[in-house]
């Protein structure tokens, strides 16, 4: 093993325990805030993994979106709920063992598939074809930007409009209405007819 492979293995050896510890912490901490923060650790380590795999755009997107937005939102929601630490004893019922069995079968399946793929892809023919693709000198971000503005312009702009509409639609049910904001005649009419058909008519 030469130096670059050694460094690569070392970095991976740092990141993978981080992911493992973080994910075990997410499911087994009793305090919800602790599990939210360990979820943040998992997302950060996944982003570092993307860096190690030379996918710089995805790594940056993972940091910005998952850690910076989604995890912050989760921590925020957990803090708002302000649940006291629930200390009921965890009984391992039948559901626990069923889920344990199903998950371990899935895990073994994935491990077997990965081993087979590893044998398949590390044959010499594939290595030479892979090296021919010359992936290491491309600029990911520039490529993505070029494609977004040329080939995928319509979905790109539509997604920005979608964000606007989603923002308006999320605020619309959540905000506080003051009743007298409407036209002045409506206020008088609402005094005159505040019976139930009137209320229903605002629905229909």
């Amino acid at each position: 093993m030469n130096l670059s492979e050694l460094i690569h293995e070392f970095i991976l050896a740092l990141i993978e325990p981080g992911i493992l510890v973080g994910s075990i912490g997410t499911v087994s901490f009793i305090n919800t805030a602790n599990s939210a923060f360990s979820l943040g650790l998992v997302f950060t380590c996944i982003s570092l993994l993307y860096f190690a795999l030379n996918a710089d755009f995805i790594a940056a997107a993972q940091l910005l979106v998952y850690v910076g937005a989604i995890n912050v939102l989760i921590v925020f929601a957990v803090m708002i709920i302000d649940q006291s630490v629930s200390s009921d004893s965890e009984k391992h019922g039948i559901g626990y063992f069923t889920a344990l069995g199903a998950c371990s079968i899935l895990f073994l399946t994935i491990v077997c598939i990965f081993h087979k793929l590893n044998d398949f892809y590390s044959s010499s023919i594939h290595q030479s074809e892979y090296l021919k693709l010359n992936l290491f000198e491309q600029n990911d971000v520039q490529n993505i930007g070029y494609q977004l503005l040329n080939k995928f312009l319509v979905p790109f702009e539509l997604a920005s409009l979608l964000l606007l509409v989603a923002l308006v639609g999320a605020i619309n049910p959540a905000r506080d209405e003051d009743e007298g904001k409407d036209i002045a005649e409506n206020k008088k009419k609402s005094f005159v007819s505040s019976t139930s058909p009137r209320d229903k008519s605002s629905f229909f």
Partner: protein, 501 residues
């Protein structure tokens, strides 16, 4: 500056902006609505509706002009007649449903600027969905349509039924679009990274990957059948239709179904032509069960909106026959004709329920008894639209169904057409039940109708005459279209004929 110039020139060479000009006008209308509402600080909300109407009309005009000249447009979407017709249908739906909702302005205590915003965005999503041939554009526009419809259905936030309806709609549309996305991801992966629909069918080798393509077809079917509310995926429809405000139900009962029809047809025609035997059988089964289930359950309904929800499930079952019966000489003519007529029939029926429920505050069918004496115009136009939905001869619903079933019989779908005929007869029962209730004079009037006159005078003093007439204009337009379209059936069929691709 040089970069911007070269970018613009490259942009102009790859994208011909005149093809998406109708959508651009809708986007301009959307931004104008937002800015106008900000400037006006919530007053003068009628002006927003006028902006909406104007932008929809201008869009329709440009689309008309484009319908004459078919421009091919390489990457993002193609403009054949099929796509343009669907865009036109969606613009008609938006236009008429906005006419229905103008009186919402003065009668509700909720802020109103977002209502035309969501309607324009849903119409925009539907229009782009009708011409998208790119997996990513399909998904983004589908989510746009679904999200805007969800916000519309939860618009009256003080009513708990509306909250329940939008919650159900959001969750179920999220689940179904995730299954759609999984089907897309299988296609993307096995066609070596292609996103364009044409390139996918070029690169995928059907013989080698047949099981994967079947799985992908199943997931895509599950995803699109939700929007169409076909049989096992129809459970959201009655609850959402009953819970949402009536104008909103009118809008998305036609718009999302029309957009989902165009998506369904395009996906299954382009990607899975070699599997046509398999998915024909499955879709036939779904259509038969939708027709049977929709019509049988609609018989037992007591609420008008719920009954219309089940009847729209069965109408989509009929339209599925039109999709299955497409062949080389006729294209999708039967499906397109029936969709066109269905838009007017459905919107017309909702146009009559809306003022009735506004005036009496109820949606029960029983409360429609004896309406003939109180409001003959409403009764007569409702009778016309209901008979057209049922398929009674001189009205256009009959001609649409007749052409659909004849086309289906010619294509060999004997079982489906037989089931459709039987269930049509069942549907006539529940439409006629309402008509009989309205037209017979009852000796003891129901309480709601006793207060009908009182409410009418109260409400009409609030609504100015100009606004009241917009709903009536929509009613008359739909009544005329659902009556007379049968007479103009031949030109309509000729236009929709060469749509096979």
């Amino acid at each position: 500056m040089n970069d911007i110039n070269s970018f613009l020139s490259r942009l102009n060479s790859t994208i011909n902006f005149s093809t998406i000009l109708p959508e651009i006008i809708l986007i301009v209308g959307l931004i104008t609505i937002v800015i106008t509402d900000l400037v006006n600080k919530g007053k003068n909300a009628i002006f927003l509706y006028k902006i909406f109407l104007i932008s929809t009309l201008v869009s329709m005009g440009i689309l008309f002009y484009q319908l004459i000249s078919v421009i091919a447009f390489e990457d993002l979407y193609t403009n054949n007649i099929f796509n343009n017709l669907f865009r036109f249908f969606i613009l008609i739906c938006s236009f008429i449903s906005v006419l229905l909702s103008v009186d919402y302005v003065l009668c509700s205590k909720i802020s109103l600027a977002e209502f035309p915003l969501f309607k324009i965005s849903a119409g925009l999503g539907g229009m782009i969905l009708s011409c998208a041939t790119n997996l990513i554009t399909i998904y983004v526009s589908l989510e746009f349509l679904a999200l805007s419809s969800c916000f519309l259905s939860g618009y009256t936030k003080r009513d708990i039924r509306s909250n329940e309806a939008s919650m159900k709609f959001l969750l179920m549309s999220g689940a179904s679009s995730s299954s759609l996305l999984y089907g897309f991801s299988l296609l993307y992966g096995f066609s070596d990274g292609q996103v364009q629909l044409d390139n996918i069918i070029d690169k995928i080798s059907f013989s080698q990957y047949l099981p994967i393509i079947c799985i992908s077809a199943a997931f895509i079917l599950a995803g699109t059948a939700f929007k169409l509310s076909l049989f096992p995926f129809h459970q959201w429809t009655p609850d959402v239709y009953e819970g949402s405000p009536t104008r909103v139900v009118a809008f998305f009962s036609v718009t999302s179904k029309v957009a989902a029809l165009s998506l369904f047809t395009r996906l299954f025609r382009l990607i899975f032509p070699y599997l046509s035997n398999e998915w024909h059988i499955v879709v036939e089964l779904l259509a038969i069960s939708s027709m049977i289930l929709g019509n049988l359950i609609a018989v037992t309904q007591r609420s008008f909106k719920r009954m219309l929800a089940y009847s729209s499930i069965s109408q989509i079952g009929y339209v599925m026959i039109g999709i299955l019966a497409a062949d080389l000489e006729n294209g999708y003519a039967s499906m397109l004709t029936y969709t066109f007529i269905y838009i007017f029939m459905n919107l017309g029926t909702f146009a009559r329920i809306t003022p009735f429920s506004l005036r009496t505050g109820t949606n029960n069918i029983r409360d429609y008894a004896g309406l003939y004496m109180k409001d003959p115009v409403l009764t007569f136009s409702l009778v016309l639209c209901l008979l057209s939905l049922g398929g009674i001869p001189p009205l256009s619903g009959f001609f649409g169904k007749h052409y659909l079933f004849w086309h289906g019989w010619k294509a060999g779908l004997y079982i489906s057409v037989t089931v459709a005929l039987v269930t049509s007869v069942i549907s006539i029962y529940y439409y006629l039940k309402i008509i009989k209730l309205m037209l017979t004079k009852t000796t003891n009037l129901v309480d709601t109708l006793k207060t009908y006159e009182k409410q009418k005078s109260l409400v009409s003093s609030v609504i100015s005459t100009k606004l009241k007439s917009s709903v009536e204009m929509a009613m008359i337009l739909c009544a005329l279209a659902s009556t007379l379209s049968g007479l103009f059936m031949d030109p309509i069929i000729k236009i929709t004929r060469n749509t096979f691709f």
